[in-house]
């Protein structure tokens, strides 16, 4: 499906790839996603382990950023409280388009263990910002983080840039 798969095409002796500009741009975009790390609670510790040597999250081309202006997507890892929700909204709005959101852990998906009696917990970060990928788990295993990242890359690869009405992809 991807652009690189076509490199082996015996076209004019090889070395030439025919494709759409969109595919090229999306290929670049999906392989160098920088993220705004939004570590909130226990899931952030698992995410730290994910970032460290054993699992090496950076092989996806991701680099942690601390400023929303430089980030392509935001990783909400942990419990979103009402006090924090305000901040998340502000930071999300500061990010430049195109922007994506990954919600990590039951807490930011739906309130998680604090769903019933947590009077100060937002029942899902999707109530304030649009979420692209949900990663389930409490906390999710590092393998789940990898899968979530791959899902986001898939999504980016399918996006249309010029003709927004037509969705790319099914090849």
């Amino acid at each position: 499906m991807g652009l690189l798969n076509r490199l082996d095409d015996p076209y004019e002796g090889g070395g030439i790839v025919l494709g759409k500009i969109e595919e090229l741009l999306n290929w670049g975009r999906s392989k160098s996603d920088w993220y705004l790390h939004f570590g909130l609670a226990c899931c952030a510790i698992e995410f730290m382990a994910m970032n460290a040597s054993h699992f090496d999250f950076m092989r996806f081309g991701t680099i942690p950023r601390t400023s929303p202006r430089q980030a392509d997507f935001i990783m909400v890892t942990g419990t979103v409280t009402f006090k924090m929700a305000e901040r998340i909204k502000i930071l999300y709005e500061q990010m430049a388009e195109p922007k994506y959101v990954i919600s990590v852990g039951s807490c930011s998906n739906s309130g998680g263990p604090y769903w019933e009696h947590g009077y100060h917990v937002l029942k899902g970060v999707d109530r304030i910002i649009p979420v692209d990928v949900y990663i389930p788990g409490c906390p999710p295993r590092p393998e789940a983080f990898e899968e979530g990242m791959m899902k986001l890359q898939e999504k980016i690869n399918k996006q249309a840039i010029f003709n927004k009405r037509k969705l790319l992809g099914t090849e």
Binding site: A49, A52, S53, T79, M84, H117, G118, Y119
Partner: protein, 383 residues
């Protein structure tokens, strides 16, 4: 003796305006979602006001609504880096109230998993402290080693971070075959990496320049603020509940309580607090080795868990030594299967309160290091 780097500049001397800066709540070096309102005079910190509540997850409300065994997962989520240590005082309080005798083997398993978790906690603490000072390598080394600890705990309990492994009167599952060998392997690895880190980070000249003589916490202040754990011991006060008020089987082990002695810098500075953690890791290794030796082979681990937990009316306060300090649970029961109230005394919260006191008069960049050396976890501060 080296001179302490505290800057006592008068406002009038500098003739500059004071400025208020906001650090956090979303900042990688605040170790969570802590917000600090800092007043600076040039680059010198004159006032720090911590703002809490960004991770308030209604712990006490949940305790009122849940039955006793259901509360254990919520206690995991208080101090999520050392979940095993958190569960312990809670089940101990219930066991005392119910008059349940814990089998010998269970006690040893508890000691081993708690010490393993202490190792994991201190590894994160030293790693992130190094990262605050600009050293990324210790982070990578420690997280590589931490995986092997996590792996053992995962095989025991089924979870990587939040274990829910303790039960009243026993454990959720027995140890697996080969547990002892795995633990010894981990101990070996931890010792080896610690040796490396000693050269790489602790005795690194840049690291010493940044952390020695910074954020000095005198023993008097530490005691007055009720600090505990490595923060208190870093100031030279020898106080460890495992030694001074032995619970479980800690009185049978031979281990030391390391305190800050000021090999570098003065007693009570960031370097010494960090050094105490390094030395504690060695002591934890010693405890694990002895516990593995003394642990009885036979014993029913899961059998003693009562079906219904309904303690009589009353109250109980139990405190144990968490990796971060003294963790206490004040449990009030009313004769039903839910507690009337469960109050936690979190070490992170108490230790955090000393920040405004010890960061005054240092450079702004030092404030980050001081915060890192206190080793807080926001889940426990806000609960």
């Amino acid at each position: 003796m080296t001179e302490i780097k505290r800057y006592d500049l008068e406002y009038s001397q500098l003739d500059s305006d004071r400025m208020r800066i906001n650090v956090g709540p979303q900042h990688p070096s605040t170790h969570g979602v802590l917000r600090l309102e800092v007043e600076v005079d040039g680059e010198i910190v004159t006032e720090v006001v911590p703002h809490l509540g960004y991770l308030h997850r209604s712990f006490e409300k949940h305790c009122e609504k849940m039955t006793f065994p259901q509360i254990i997962p919520y206690i995991d989520r208080m101090d999520y880096i050392s979940a095993m240590n958190n569960e312990w005082p809670y089940v101990m309080a219930l066991e005392k109230m119910l008059d349940v005798k814990v089998p010998e083997k269970v006690e040893f398993i508890r000691v081993i998993v708690a010490e393993l978790n202490r190792l994991a906690n201190h590894q994160i603490a030293v790693a992130t402290f190094g990262m605050d000072a600009g050293a990324f390598t210790p982070f990578l080394y420690y997280f590589r080693d931490r995986e092997s600890i996590i792996w053992i705990l995962e095989r025991l309990s089924g979870a990587r971070l939040l274990y829910n492994y303790f039960r009243v009167g026993g454990m959720a599952a027995d140890i697996y075959p080969g547990f002892k060998e795995d633990c010894l392997e981990v101990v070996k690895k931890v010792r080896k990496t610690n040796e490396e880190i000693m050269d790489l980070l602790i005795h690194n000249n840049i690291f010493i320049k940044r952390t020695a003589n910074v954020g000095v916490l005198t023993p008097e202040v530490a005691i007055n603020f009720a600090c505990s754990g490595p923060v208190l011991r870093g100031s030279g006060v020898k106080f460890d509940l495992r030694k001074d008020e032995p619970y479980s089987v800690y009185d049978r082990f031979d281990f030391d309580v390391p305190v800050g002695v000021g090999e570098v810098g003065v007693v009570g500075d960031c370097w010494n607090r960090n050094m105490v953690r390094m030395k504690e890791m060695e002591q934890s290794c010693r405890i694990i080795e002895q516990a593995l030796e003394m642990m009885p082979e036979e014993g029913d681990v899961t059998g003693g868990v009562p079906r219904r937990i309904k303690p009589p009316k009353g109250e109980m306060y139990i405190r144990t030594e968490n990796p971060k300090g003294e963790l206490g649970f004040y449990l009030v029961t009313n004769g039903t299967d839910k507690p009337e109230r469960l109050k936690a005394r979190g070490p992170s919260f108490v230790n955090l309160s000393v920040i405004p006191e010890i960061s005054k008069g240092y450079m702004f960049a030092d404030l980050i290091l001081i915060l890192g050396s206190i080793d807080i976890v926001l889940g426990e501060v806000d609960r």
